[in-house]
């Protein structure tokens, strides 16, 4: 085991700073500043826009007369605008920023050709803007997760190609001898996404496949956006920041390798579980269910690895904003994935399929895990590229608690309400309108949870803007929730 732990130590970001001088890291961070700020500002702008559409759609579900006469904001469009703003606007922009910063640090390479990234960012955000306009104007494709009209998507693809090219260049010119597990995840995600996206675009929009082959392509794509793009980026961040903030290596190098490959092999088959009971070949569905169950392996392996890394350091949660968000995200990765495997069971799916429980589950994965990890990452990255500290620890605290409590309520009420809805819907003796009436109370609670989350996002956006515009101070002490006990080993925020 000694060799294993020394190997782990040698490739861990927590200990690699012994070999990399602080000056070098600082230089690398500085080189990421322009593109990272560009992606982060866009991400947060889209987060606020997406949140606004989320509230509109959520309230419309129990108050349909709200903005009811405005065709542009009819539920089908507002809901779609919400999804696209938070996925392609917020989540992908945040992913680009965090992945790029991690890539540069882990490859120990300053960002070369940042012009490529700026150009990619321009294409991406113009593409998303045009796509959002298309959705609101009524040009949405009605293909879940691919709603943007075909006149917007080529721009996204160009942006993507540029980022991929940049990543390969950075990786090639990197100085680091070891490939840390975070890099595996990021490289894999950068490679997988364009494959998924191009196959989906071609087989669904430009030259549609016949019949329900489309449904298979749709869910192969849509679930893999989560599984092979957001999950790897989120896990890359957890694998980097957890040891980094705690100042100790990740527990087991081998577990992280096992976690990576089992995820790579099983996750990409799992999406078909969205078609259980649907008009597609039964064997594909069975394979999808099996793969969904097998996802327990990478999830549990990763959870054990993270947990054993955290053990003995839980006190640090009291002080470090980054850690608090990242740990909340990592715990919810485990929970949402295990629930996801459960929901893929035929018997469970018979009930929860077609209900609000699935919506709740999507938010569990994308928000409670992914977005919270991105928030944590941003709290770490921004002070390092701006050489300023977060202006308000209180606003960070508001952000954490409103979002953590809000999303927890959200997931619980949609899960309970959705399960009830599914049970009633399967009982034909209950009139359909009664099923609808019984969901209202849960939908209202969901909206209130959404209001709480909105408060958190506003706090975050204010802190972010304040930080950008405040002058650089001499005081460089990190912004923590409390002043840590000096004995406690905590190397960062």
């Amino acid at each position: 085991m000694a060799s294993a732990s020394s190997l782990a130590a040698s490739v861990s970001p927590a200990t690699s700073s012994d070999t990399v001088t602080r000056a070098e890291l600082s230089e690398i961070d500085a080189s990421t500043k322009a593109p990272a700020m560009y992606f982060l500002c866009s991400a947060i702008l889209w987060l606020i826009i997406g949140t606004a559409f989320a509230l509109i759609s959520s309230f419309k579900m129990h108050k349909p007369e709200l903005l009811g006469d405005i065709e542009w904001l009819t539920f089908g469009r507002a809901r779609t605008a919400h999804l696209n703003a938070v996925i392609y606007g917020w989540s992908v922009n945040a992913s680009f920023a965090v992945a790029m910063w991690l890539m540069a640090r882990l490859a120990r390479s300053v960002v070369r050709h940042s012009g490529i990234l700026m150009l990619a960012g321009a294409f991406w955000n113009v593409g998303v803007t045009v796509g959002m306009y298309g959705i609101l104007a009524g040009d949405a494709t009605s293909i879940e997760w691919l709603e943007m009209p075909p006149y917007a998507t080529p721009m996204l693809f160009i942006a993507y190609a540029l980022i991929g090219a940049w990543a390969v260049i950075t990786f090639r010119f990197g100085k680091s001898e070891h490939i840390y597990v975070s890099q595996w995840y990021i490289l894999a995600a950068l490679f997988w996404f364009p494959w998924l996206y191009s196959v989906a675009q071609i087989m669904l929009i430009f030259s549609p496949a016949r019949g329900t082959v489309q449904a298979l392509v749709n869910w192969w794509f849509a679930h893999n956006v989560l599984g092979l793009w957001f999950t790897p980026i989120g896990l890359a961040a957890v694998y980097y920041f957890l040891p980094k903030v705690l100042g100790k290596p990740i527990h087991s190098y081998y577990l992280s390798v096992l976690g990576f490959w089992s995820l790579a092999i099983f996750y990409n088959w799992a999406g078909v579980h969205h078609l259980i009971g649907g008009p597609v070949p039964a064997w594909v569905i069975t394979a999808g269910i099996a793969a969904s169950f097998m996802m327990v392996v990478p999830v549990v392996v990763t959870a054990i690895n993270h947990h054993l890394t955290m053990i003995g350091s839980f006190q640090a949660l009291k002080y470090s904003p980054t850690l608090r968000f990242i740990v909340f995200g990592a715990v919810n990765y485990t929970l949402s994935s295990l629930l996801g495997s459960l929901m893929a069971d035929r018997g469970v799916s018979e009930v929860v399929h077609f209900t609000h429980a699935v919506v709740g589950h999507a938010h569990h994965g994308l928000y409670a895990f992914f977005s919270m990890v991105m928030f944590g990452s941003i709290y770490y990255i921004l002070p390092r590229i701006l050489h300023k500290e977060w202006p308000s620890a209180r606003l960070i605290s508001v952000h954490f608690w409103t979002c953590a409590i809000g999303i927890t309520i959200y997931v619980i009420v949609t899960s309970i309400g959705g399960t009830k809805q599914g049970l009633e819907m399967n009982d034909a003796s209950i009139p359909f309108m009664d099923v609808v009436r019984h969901t209202i109370v849960w939908l209202k609670l969901r909206s209130y949870a959404g209001v709480l989350i909105t408060v958190g996002h506003v706090a975050f956006a204010i802190n972010f803007a304040w930080m950008i515009f405040k002058p650089r101070a001499d005081n460089t002490a990190p912004t923590l929730f409390a002043h840590p006990n000096p004995d406690l080993e905590i190397s960062a925020r």
């Binding site: 016949r210 019949g211 082959v213 298979l216 009971g277 008009p279 077609f354 399967n426």
Partner: protein, 234 residues
């Protein structure tokens, strides 16, 4: 130690595996499924959408109806689809082969619409849809479906009142001022034609012999009279 090429190969094959299994294999297996020609009826099934209904489908897409309504009926004994009267039989792959965009959907905030054209048919069905689109609560009290008043137009009567005026179907509170009438827009009309066209009633030869076995759990539930349904559905 440069393991990058090895890692890359692994990453490549991981996705190639599911791409082959889910996308390619199924494209080869049933991506060329053809309509069935029925000599008795002298036409092929599934039937193509009439022109106006095809336009209406685009309205269905642009308004995002798919986010609350599915278009797929699950098999008897799995979910309540058949019992609720959402279809006579389960949906099969061949039902969708003429559709340029397949709108299976994943959410049932509202009921399944695969056979709404069978439930709301003919002129009565058209009138039901007009009321329902104008204000869903007219036909379904407490409905949370949006009102689609923007698919209607209130216009001044010029000359004779239009035969297409619909206000007679609407409640007193919705009546326009004297000299005005309410008509469906072209988009609204197309959307309703699309909904009226939605039905899968034809049984393909390969489906006629399909036998459904009641799931075990109902047998376990035992005594209830409902569990004693016939072993096989048509």
């Amino acid at each position: 130690m440069n393991r990058a090429p090895l890692i890359f190969l692994g990453i490549f094959f991981a996705l190639a595996f599911s791409w082959t299994g889910i996308v390619l294999t199924n494209q080869i297996a049933y991506g060329k499924l053809e309509p069935v020609f029925d000599e008795g009826e002298n036409k092929s099934f599934p039937e193509a959408l009439p022109g106006l209904a095809a336009q209406g489908k685009l309205v269905y897409q642009d308004l995002g109806c798919i986010y609350c309504h599915t278009q797929q009926v699950r098999r008897p004994g799995y979910g309540g689809d058949i019992d609720r009267g959402w279809g006579e039989r389960q949906s099969v792959a061949r039902d969708y082969i003429r559709e340029r965009r397949v709108l299976l959907g994943t959410m049932r905030t509202g009921p399944d619409l695969r056979n709404i054209g069978a439930r709301q048919a003919g002129d009565a069905g058209r009138e039901w849809h007009i009321r329902h689109m104008y204000d869903p609560e007219i036909t379904s009290k407490d409905s949370i479906m949006p009102k689609y008043k923007f698919l209607f137009e209130t216009r001044k009567i010029v000359g004779e009142p239009s035969t297409k005026a619909v206000q007679r179907l609407l409640p007193a509170s919705a009546q326009p001022a004297a000299g005005y009438e309410i008509v469906l827009t072209d988009r609204g009309n197309a959307l309703i034609e699309y909904l009226l066209s939605l039905k899968d009633s034809y049984t393909y030869p390969e489906e006629a012999t399909r036998v459904y076995v009641e799931p075990k759990k109902e047998q376990k539930a035992g005594a209830s009279s409902e569990a004693a349904k016939p072993e096989a559905h048509k």
